[in-house]
C-alpha cells in the first residue's frame, strides 16, 4: 500500500526552511485525469479498429493484449508513476517541438512525451503516440542530445507501428495453420511430445525476439534519421548506445567502513553480529541455461555494439554542441541521484532506496533530505520485518548477479533484528 503522497510532501515542506531536496511533484490530479481520459479514448478507438479488422479468436486475443497493456499503463499512472511536473513537461515539450519542427512529417502525429518514476533505466513507446522516459535512464546519459535521440528512437517505434504489428502478427501466426498443425501433432503424439513442444516453443520465442531486435534496429535507423535533421551533434546517438551498454554496472559503492557511521544511533550501538556473512564458497555456479537455448536469440534488444555498428556509417561528428536548455538538463542530472532515492522509496523499493541514500550520504552525510529518506526507509523496513515481508525489499544474496557492495549491504541488512531496525528508525526520526 503506497504511503499517502500528500502526507510525505507535507512532511518535507515542514522542513522547507532548511536546504533540503524536494522531489518533483506529481500531485497534479487534473493533469493525471486528463491524461487518463485521453488515453482511454485512444485505447477505445484502437479496440474499435481491431474489431473492424479482425474477427473470432484472433480478434479476442489481440483485444486482450491491448487491454492488458492499457490496464498496466493506467495502473502506473494512477499510482503517480508518470510525472506531470510543469517544468519537466515544459522541457520535454520543447525537445518534442524541436523534433517535430525539424521533421515536419511528425507534426500531426499527436505525440506526447513524459518522464516516469519507474526505476528501470529504460524508455518505451506505448504505441499510441505516448513516449515514456524513465528518469533512471538520466543517470546513464551525458547530455540533452542523448535524451533527444532516445525520444527520436521511441517516436520511430510509434511511426513504424511496431506495437500493433508485434501484437497482431504474433497472434495471427499463433492461430495460423502451421502452428495449429504443429500443436495438433504434439497433442496426438505418443512419443517425443516434449522435444516437439520445445522445438515449437523455441521457434516461436526466437521469432518473437528476432522481430523485437529487428524493430530495435529499425527504430535506431529511423530515429537517427529524425535526429540528424536536428541541430544536435549526431555523435550523441553512438554515445548513448555506449552508455546504455553500461546500465547494468553499478556506478558507485558503499564502503564497508562507513556502516558504523550510519548505523550507530542514540539507542542502538553498532553490533559486530551485523557483519557476519553467509558462506557461498561451497557452491560452484554454472552458467548453463535451463533449456540450453541460444542466449543471443532470447534478447529483445541487440547488443549495443551491433547497434552502434549499424548506425555508425550514418553518423558524423559535426562538432556541434547544441542544446535547448542545457541548464535544465544539467539541473536534472544533478538532481537525479536524489530524485531516484525518492523514486525507489515511492515505488516501494525500500531496500534499494536506503542503499542509494547511504551512498549519497558519503558525499553529504548530514543532508536533511537524505536523513529523512533514511528514516522513512528504516520505518518501512521495520514494518515489513514485523509482517514477514522483508524479503520483498531486501533481496537474498545472489553472488552471480549482485556486486560485492550490494551483497555486503543486503547481507548486513538481513542481520538486523526487528528491534534493532525499529531502534534505528526511531532514533533517526528524532534527529
Amino acid at each position: 500500500m503506497r504511503l499517502p503522497f500528500i502526507a510525505f510532501v507535507f512532511f518535507l515542506y515542514s522542513f522547507s526552511y532548511s536546504q533540503t531536496y524536494k522531489p518533483f511533484d506529481t500531485v497534479s490530479v487534473e493533469n493525471r485525469k486528463v491524461f487518463l481520459n485521453e488515453y482511454e479514448i485512444r485505447h477505445k478507438q484502437k479496440l474499435k479498429e481491431v474489431k473492424k479488422a479482425f474477427s473470432g479468436k484472433i480478434r479476442e486475443q489481440i483485444e486482450k493484449a491491448y487491454i492488458s497493456q492499457f490496464e498496466d499503463i493506467s495502473r502506473a499512472t494512477k499510482y503517480k508513476e508518470l510525472y506531470f511536473d510543469a517544468n519537466m513537461q515544459s522541457y520535454l515539450q520543447n525537445i518534442l517541438l524541436e523534433i517535430t519542427l525539424s521533421n515536419p512529417i511528425l507534426q500531426n502525429q499527436n505525440i506526447r512525451v513524459y518522464f516516469s518514476r519507474n526505476t528501470n533505466p529504460n524508455a518505451f513507446s506505448i504505441g499510441d503516440g505516448t513516449v515514456v522516459v524513465n528518469t533512471e535512464l538520466l543517470r546513464y546519459i551525458d547530455d540533452e542530445a542523448e535524451l533527444s535521440f532516445v525520444i527520436c528512437h521511441e517516436i520511430a517505434h510509434f511511426i513504424l507501428n511496431h506495437r500493433d504489428s508485434s501484437i497482431q502478427e504474433y497472434v495471427i501466426k499463433q492461430n495460423g495453420d502451421e502452428v495449429k498443425k504443429a500443436e495438433k501433432d504434439i497433442k496426438k503424439s505418443k512419443f517425443n511430445k516434449q522435444s516437439k513442444s520445445e522445438k515449437l516453443a523455441q521457434a516461436t520465442i526466437y521469432s518473437k525476439k528476432y522481430r523485437s531486435r529487428t524493430q530495435e534496429f529499425q527504430a535506431d535507423s529511423l530515429g537517427l534519421a529524425y535526429f540528424k535533421k536536428m541541430k544536435y551533434n549526431n555523435i550523441a546517438s553512438i554515445k548513448l548506445l555506449k552508455n546504455l551498454s553500461e546500465t547494468d554496472i553499478e556506478l558507485d559503492s558503499l564502503p564497508q567502513k562507513s556502516y558504523p557511521k550510519y548505523f550507530t544511533t542514540k539507542n542502538q550501538k553498532f553490533l559486530k553480529e551485523w557483519l557476519v556473512s553467509e558462506d557461498y564458497s561451497k557452491y560452484n555456479y554454472s552458467k548453463e541455461q535451463f533449456f540450453k537455448w541460444n542466449v543471443d536469440s532470447l534478447k529483445t534488444h541487440p547488443d549495443c555494439e551491433q547497434r552502434i555498428a549499424r548506425i555508425k556509417p550514418e553518423v558524423t561528428d559535426n562538432k556541434k554542441n547544441y542544446s535547448i536548455d542545457k541548464a535544465f538538463f544539467d539541473e536534472l542530472k544533478k538532481r537525479i541521484a536524489f530524485e531516484q532515492v525518492f523514486n525507489y522509496y515511492y515505488m516501494e523499493e525500500y531496500g534499494q532506496s536506503l542503499y542509494e541514500t547511504l551512498k549519497l550520504r558519503e558525499k553529504a552525510s548530514n543532508d536533511k533530505f537524505l536523513i529523512q529518506m533514511t528514516t522513512l526507509n528504516l520505518e518501512a523496513l521495520a514494518k515489513a520485518k514485523k509482517e514477514l515481508k522483508y524479503n520483498n525489499y531486501i533481496p537474498l544474496i545472489n553472488p552471480k548477479e549482485q556486486t560485492k557492495s550490494q551483497q555486503y549491504f543486503f547481507n548486513f541488512m538481513s542481520n538486523l533484528t526487528l528491534t534493532e531496525i525499529q531502534n534505528l528508525a526511531d532514533d533517526y526520526k528524532s534527529i
Binding site: Q61, K64, A65, S68, E71, D72, R75, Y170, V171, Q174, N175, E183, I186, K187, K190, F191, N192, K193, Q194, S195, K196, S197, E198, L200, A201, T204, I205, K208, L271, E273, V276, Y280, K282, Y283, N284, Y285, S286, E288, Q289, F290, L298, K385, K386, E387, L388, K389, Y390, N391, N392, P395, L396, I397, N398, P399, K400, S414, T417, L418, T419, E420
Partner: protein
C-alpha cells in the same frame, strides 16, 4: 527479491497469452520433485527434477536443476533412462543428498487405463527395475549410474520376475550412501532380504551387512534404520510375525566399515510408545510415552485396543532412555509420570482437566542439556480429533520437568504443530504451528524458545487476507519459506511470489 521458481512461470513470461497451454506445459516437462536437500541438518539448497522427453525407443530424459539455499541456480543437466516395453512409466522415486552428491533413484510402475495399477497383485511391490544416477554437483557431472539388481540385465518380461527387491538410500556423511535392500512381502523372507551395504560416491561398494539372527522358516526379520551420522548407523531389528520368540535389538554399525559395534537387546519395565530416537554426541537418545506393562510386548501396538480411550487410559507418562555408545550400556532409563509436570492439572493417564489427552509432537534437546517438549491436548471425536490447547514442557538435564507453559489456541480439526527449526545464530528454536483466528481464518504461529533466557514468545501471521493466501515451507536456518498466491493477479501484476523471510527473534 522474490523468486518465482516454477519453470512453468518462467516459460510463460517468454510466451504470450496466445501460446497454447498444452505446448507450454509439455515444453516445461512433468514435475517429478521439488525437494529441499539437507547437509547435516542444515539446508544446502533445493533440487527440482522434471521428466522431459520420452522417445520411440523408450529413452526417457529427466532434467535436474540444483538451487542454492537462496534459490539461485547452481547447475542443471539431463539424465537419460531406459524404460521397459511393458505398459510402464519410468519415474523418479527418491533423491538422496550426501556431501555435495545427489543420488537419483528411478523405477517403473505399470500404467493402464489412465492410472497406476499393481504389477504383481495385492500387497506386492509395485515398482520395479530400479536404477540410480549419482550427480557430482560441483562439477555438474553424472559420475555413476546403473541398475540396482545385478540379476537384471535388460528391462523385459523375462527379467521382471527376477526383480524381487527394492532399495532405499540414506546419506552417509563423509562416506557415500547407505543402501537398504528389502524384499517384497509374502513367502519365505528370512533375513536375506535385510541386507545393508555402503557405497562411496561413485557407487562402488565399500561394505555389506546382514543380520546374524538365526530365524526359523516363515519368520520375517524387520530391520529399520533409526538414525545415522558420519560415525554410526543405528538400526532396530525385530521379528515381524511367525515366531513367538521376541527379537528386538538396537544394532549399531560403524559408518565407515559396516562393522557391528554392538547388538543390544531392548528391554523395559513398561510398555513403550516411541516418539523418536536419534544419535547425538556419542549416545543414543530415545523418548516417547510409557504405558502399563503388557506381557510379551515392549513397544505399543495400538491395534490391540478397540478405542482410543482404552488405549490412552493405559498411558502413564513420558520416558527417556539413553545408551552410551562406547560402553553399549543403557545409562538412563527415566520414566516421568504425568503428575510430575508442574502447574498442570492432569490425571495419571495424561488427561488434562477440561482439555483432553496429551499428544506429544516434538522433543528437542537444547545446547545446555535441557529438553523442550511440545504437546497438544485433544478430544477424540467420531472421525477426527479436536485439538484445543498447546503446551510446552521444559525438562532439565535429567529429564525432570521444571516448567509448563500453556497456550490458548482455537479448536482445530487435526493437530496444529507443523515443524521446527533453529533460530538465526543458533539462539534458540522456532516451532511452527497453525491456528485459527477469531474469524476462523488460518493463522501461522511461530513460537520462539530462547536458549539463554529460556523465554518463550509467539508471533502470529495471518495466512489469508483480502489480497492473498499464503503457504509456508522449511528454508535455510533461521528462515522460513513463504509462497504467497494473489487473489487478483491483474491488480498485483503477478500470480504468486516466493520469498525467504528471516525469523523475528530477540538477540540475547
Amino acid at each position: 527479491m522474490k523468486k518465482i521458481i516454477s519453470l512453468l512461470f518462467l516459460l510463460s513470461t517468454l510466451f504470450s497469452f496466445a501460446q497454447s497451454y498444452t505446448v507450454l506445459n509439455e515444453t516445461a516437462g512433468e514435475i517429478m520433485a521439488f525437494s529441499p536437500i539437507y547437509e547435516d541438518a542444515n539446508l544446502y539448497g533445493y533440487v527440482e527434477v522434471r521428466k522431459m522427453n520420452v522417445d520411440e525407443k523408450a529413452n526417457v530424459t529427466f532434467k535436474y536443476i540444483v538451487l542454492d539455499k537462496n534459490f539461485n541456480k547452481i547447475c542443471t543437466g539431463d539424465m537419460l533412462e531406459k524404460q521397459s516395453p511393458v505398459r510402464a512409466k519410468r519415474n523418479l522415486y527418491d533423491i538422496t543428498f550426501s556431501n555435495g552428491y545427489l543420488k537419483f533413484d528411478f523405477s517403473e510402475r505399470i500404467w493402464a487405463f489412465g492410472e497406476y495399477v499393481p504389477s504383481r497383485g495385492w500387497g506386492a511391490m509395485d515398482s520395479f527395475f530400479e536404477t540410480y544416477q549419482v550427480l557430482d554437483i560441483k562439477n555438474n557431472k553424472i559420475i555413476a549410474n546403473g541398475i540396482y539388481n545385478s540379476k537384471i540385465e535388460v528391462f523385459d518380461k523375462k527379467h521382471f520376475s527376477k526383480d524381487d527387491f527394492f532399495y532405499t538410500n540414506y546419506p552417509l556423511e563423509g562416506t557415500g550412501f547407505l543402501v537398504k535392500v528389502d524384499g517384497h512381502h509374502g513367502g519365505n523372507s528370512g533375513n536375506e532380504r535385510n541386507t545393508f551395504y555402503a557405497t562411496n560416491f561413485k557407487n562402488e561398494k565399500i561394505w555389506e551387512y546382514k543380520s546374524n539372527e538365526i530365524l526359523k522358516k516363515n519368520v520375517s526379520l524387520i530391520i529399520n534404520v533409526l538414525d545415522y551420522d558420519n560415525q554410526n548407523i543405528l538400526l532396530e531389528e525385530f521379528n515381524g510375525y511367525g515366531d513367538k520368540k521376541d527379537i528386538r535389538n538396537f544394532v549399531l554399525l560403524d559408518t565407515k566399515t559396516g562393522k557391528e559395534l554392538f547388538k543390544l537387546p531392548i528391554k523395559g519395565t513398561y510398555l513403550l510408545e516411541r516418539e523418536n530416537v536419534y544419535l547425538k554426541d556419542g549416545k543414543i537418545y530415545e523418548w516417547g510415552r510409557f504405558f502399563e506393562e503388557e506381557k510379551k510386548l515392549l513397544y505399543h501396538q495400538k491395534y490391540l485396543y478397540a478405542t482410543y480411550e482404552e488405549y490412552e487410559k493405559k498411558s502413564l507418562g513420558v520416558f527417556q532412555r539413553i545408551i552410551d555408545i562406547k560402553s553399549a550400556q543403557l545409562t538412563k532409563d527415566k520414566y516421568v509420570k504425568y503428575s510430575e509436570f508442574p502447574t498442570l492439572e492432569i490425571n495419571e493417564n495424561g488427561k488434562v482437566k477440561n482439555d483432553g489427552f496429551l499428544s506429544f509432537q516434538k522433543c528437542t534437546s537444547n545446547p545446555d542439556g535441557t529438553f523442550m517438549i511440545l504437546a497438544e491436548s485433544y478430544w477424540q471425536k467420531h472421525q477426527y480429533r479436536a485439538y484445543n490447547k498447546l503446551f510446552t514442557f521444559l525438562l532439565d538435564k535429567d529429564f525432570n520437568p521444571i516448567k509448563t507453559t500453556e497456550y490458548e489456541v482455537k479448536r482445530t480439526k487435526g493437530y496444529k504443530y507443523d515443524f521446527s527449526q533453529r533460530l538465526p545464530n543458533k539462539t534458540g528454536r522456532a516451532y511452527f504451528f497453525f491456528d485459527k483466528t477469531d474469524d476462523k481464518d488460518l493463522e501461522l504461529n511461530i513460537l520462539n524458545y530462547y536458549y539463554k533466557s529460556q523465554k518463550e514468545t509467539v508471533q502470529k501471521m495471518p495466512l489469508t487476507n483480502d489480497e492473498s493466501s499464503i503457504a509456508i515451507f522449511p528454508a535455510k536456518e533461521g528462515y522460513i519459506g513463504i509462497a504467497e498466491y494473489f487473489k487478483n493477479p491483474e491488480k498485483k501484476g503477478k500470480y504468486m511470489e516466493i520469498r525467504l523471510e528471516k525469523l523475528n527473534y530477540e538477540r540475547e
